[in-house]
Subunit: 208 residues, 2 copies
Amino acid sequence: MGRAQFAPGDFLDAARSLAAEHGPAAVTVDAVTRRLDAPKGSFYYRFASRDLLLGELWLATVLAYQEGFVAAIEAGDGLAAALHMPAWVRRNREAARLLLLYSRHDFVQGKWPAALKRGVADQAQRFMASLERFAHSAFGGSDADAVRRAQFVLADVPMAAIRPHLQRRESPPPLVDELIRATYHAIVGGGAAPQTASSSSIASTRSG
Amino acid sequence: MGRAQFAPGDFLDAARSLAAEHGPAAVTVDAVTRRLDAPKGSFYYRFASRDLLLGELWLATVLAYQEGFVAAIEAGDGLAAALHMPAWVRRNREAARLLLLYSRHDFVQGKWPAALKRGVADQAQRFMASLERFAHSAFGGSDADAVRRAQFVLADVPMAAIRPHLQRRESPPPLVDELIRATYHAIVGGGAAPQTASSSSIASTRSG
DNA sequence: GAGAGTCTAGACTATATAGTCTATAACTTA
DNA sequence: TAAGTTATAGACTATATAGTCTAGACTCTC
């Protein structure tokens, strides 16, 4: 069969669905090929190993998210960077579950080739650079504490706000953005804080 | 061998260490018994299955954490409940890794007996009751949004602040408490907020 | 249309792991 | 000390899964 019936992307798509539905452990080669009704040989013709499939899936997912994040930071808009997470999650529900419900190590525990390794390292490095850049502009320094603060408002808090909803397979409601925004202003301060720390106002903003 | 060489707790301890070090997937029956130099028979004499071991480990871990949390809520001190997480994590590093780095489903995917099932359900119910109680006192209601806010400040944010440090196998530094506190005051407001939303003060509080 | 290259097809192998089963050693109690 | 109880001991089975291998079907080019 000289004409390909399956593209590499088909296997990645199937893997993404399976991982989003039942976790990365459910992404067995048999499960993936069964879902596509493809023979095993066709899988291994394209991917050297299951580890590689999962590694590529993870990297693609992280990069897809990070693109908008880095852009926002480079535009000097920290709040937009923080709010990029819920926005992206709403548009990419399956990928979002991979990114927020599991860790890198659930995907890439094994040995991967240099190319993938470099890809992941580059990604981490670009992300850290963004955090440092933001830390510098928001907290006046790039020491460990300032970077940690940046990570907190730009990544940890958005994840924390969204995760429970993904766990219940819901789309993150608007309340999530509000919580991220309020936290952002509390930690970063300044800017266009719509209200002061007195927060009964926050609590009642979006209840209906 | 009429006198027991191993207590059930020995297997739980070994399982906890393994899970903390390499994740719950590394808690195989072989790995556990190898670590204790115990025969397989001795394991299955005490635990009906691997699932049961992991289930009991998870439940014990959650309950150990929750005790202090619920007590703080019942004492009417929301901030103490939020700060209980970093305090508990510092005292229970291994258990903390289970609780914060993995999800319930990594431990209890299989079938468990009614007793365990009830234990987990009870635990979840007590936790929700605490959240509702706090939501009522802090946000004046127990509707879904108010409970979600409660979960955010009391559970999600503390987890988010701590998780990166556990991932690096560090003890959570004091900065973590500060971030939790600042977020708490931003969302809950009122109370004894030590500073207003202008946060250059927060940023410089604990840099040295 | 012959030959080369591409991809499908799926049986087969190797290995890790959960769980079973039988024998027996070490205690306990009458 | 005999009988009964409790636990150790580890070989064995069953199953899931990653990965290999060979045959051959399809397509494209000359």
